[in-house]
Point group: C2
Chain length 413, copies 2
Amino acid sequence: MILGAGFAGLAAAQALAGARVAVTLIDVNNYHLFVPLLYQVATAALSPADIAEPIRHIVAASENIEVVLGEVSGVDPEAREVRLADGTAIPYDRLVVATGSTTSYFGHDAWADHAPSLKSIEEARAIRTRVLQGFELAERAADPAERDRLMTIVVVGGGPTGVEMAGSLAELARHALARDFRHIDPTTARVLLVEAGPRLLAAFPEDLAAYARRSLERLGVSILTNRAVETIDADGVVIGGERIPAATVVWGAGVRASPAAAWLRVATDRSGRIPVEPDLSVTGLPDIYALGDTALCRDERGEPLPGLAQVAQQQGTHLGQALRANLEQGRPMPPFRFRNRGNAAIVGRHAAVFDFGPRRHLRGSPAWLLWAAVHVVLLVDFSQRARVSLQWLWRYVTYRRGARLITAPPPRR
Amino acid sequence: MILGAGFAGLAAAQALAGARVAVTLIDVNNYHLFVPLLYQVATAALSPADIAEPIRHIVAASENIEVVLGEVSGVDPEAREVRLADGTAIPYDRLVVATGSTTSYFGHDAWADHAPSLKSIEEARAIRTRVLQGFELAERAADPAERDRLMTIVVVGGGPTGVEMAGSLAELARHALARDFRHIDPTTARVLLVEAGPRLLAAFPEDLAAYARRSLERLGVSILTNRAVETIDADGVVIGGERIPAATVVWGAGVRASPAAAWLRVATDRSGRIPVEPDLSVTGLPDIYALGDTALCRDERGEPLPGLAQVAQQQGTHLGQALRANLEQGRPMPPFRFRNRGNAAIVGRHAAVFDFGPRRHLRGSPAWLLWAAVHVVLLVDFSQRARVSLQWLWRYVTYRRGARLITAPPPRR
């Protein structure tokens, strides 16, 4: 049984497709979400359906895989049962926990109301609505201070999510919306990227981070490093004692593993991740495996693997194949080894950074093209591929955004 | 000033583009919605962004048109002011009322909770969620009666909306979902189309209505005519004293003009429409015009024009051109004459009916192809055109649905 149909869980299921093993794949959503492109939904470049595919559809041809739409509420390792929120219990022989991560507001849960993160379609839609509604209200605002507040967007966190979000927002304001208003000039919108650490993209080499900073600044993004956010409320943020009025605040700072560790009653690291053995089994629970953002898995040098889609996907494929060989032929479970395929962050059109390891860096247009090609290929199935390629091509030629709809409920103030 | 950016209001604004007249276009949404294709969003074939385009973007090049996102709460014809819900008042010289229609539950407002209609993106998304969630819950239901209820969909109203909805739902169950479940057979889902009158498509000639009925029955739709719905609640419907348990009920039966008549304090017909003179001015209020679903406009024989997109669009273009000639050159306002371009309803793949007037009927594949071509061309701008064509082509080849996402809140029970 596999809990979660993200990159890790889905890859594990697909590796078990057609095996002489009954697979149950449980997820709280009916779709697999391509989270790395969620920021493009939040900035009106793509529609939710462009980056989400029904899980049932993906595994429809594999008769041995059953999909269950349900919310897991607990696991009973003694009874070998998974319990769902609706009260049903589903038995398992082997359990794969791939329930991903959730947003962490570092103890300030009240911030969640004012600063959505980029974890779900609903949040992406909420951000899109706030940003677009901000410009609409600014167009009619009589008070200059209120107009400035409505046209200010603060992105918290200078990791890849924050960098991508800030770049895409700046492009939205500078190009897609540029000519559409009569009283305001959207190109004067203020996009602020706030990072508590000394520089952007801490996981990337310094030269790439410096390039990303220059590219963002060229797009008009203001970058504040070494500054932690102290307050987030309906009026904006407080940073270093200074209040910055802002209608939209996006949270890209903290993630935390899903509550799977609590279900299994195992100890975790600071981020809530479950320590796993080299074969991805949970330490002390040999028939339970943990993958992706939920797992604390170390490489050969003892460093924890980062929470990336490629790590999750490789772990899923590895574990699926290992379980198949183990269950069908009794083979032992081999250790997992991560192969770095390159770590990317995109700043905007023609501006991306790609890190393939020491001294193998790529940036600018070549990195952007490679990023685009990789992400189109990574998308789960052909239909999505065709649609996303077409939309990108179209946007690329016209600088436009096709999904500029205000459909979520308006933001609270 | 134009109230409403539907087919009528937008056409009027576009006819005034570039004129020496300041145009203010007010709508409660930031997008123009292609309502005739909304049923395709409700049945997971298209994404909301495929059939909606930001109003600002459509008129961006016309410097004389200002777009205001706002909800109209009243009109003061003496002060020549439009009042918005946020308290602001906007002055006008000439007023064009094109605020469309809303759903009428014939006095049973409580039915709205259980039977969404097809008027907005939010409703289309709610229907999509109910239908897909029904299949998901059925897959896990132990009780056969409950499983049948979850797989039963009732469509109320046998007009074009009901026919299109029923046909598209049957195709969704029979083709797109057919292989995706393990415990239920989606092709056995029951789609029921209920019409209070003696036959489907009352506005169409009898031969076309009979063809539509046969085509729907071939798709597996059960059709009940001469039966009025007596109750709609969380468990289903009561028709002719018989309770039919159903998880999804779609309302396609009644529409009512927007409350514009109350703002203007004028008498209306039974459906709330405002009577207009041949030049589309509101009787007794010469500087105010009413268009589209909000207006009661009669043809040469004294018959009221139907609530169709083509009527609205022709009226908008006519009035925009007439106002332009009147304001720029002082020409008199000419009377409006409707040209019937053909009335269509689609049942499913290769099955549509087209009525061009007495003895000029088209049906089957040719009608379907014509319908598809017309609707692609009608879509507001090129970007949408390219995307919708591509999706249709893809669906046509593969029988698939790309937007099968359960994202709205789950239905209440």
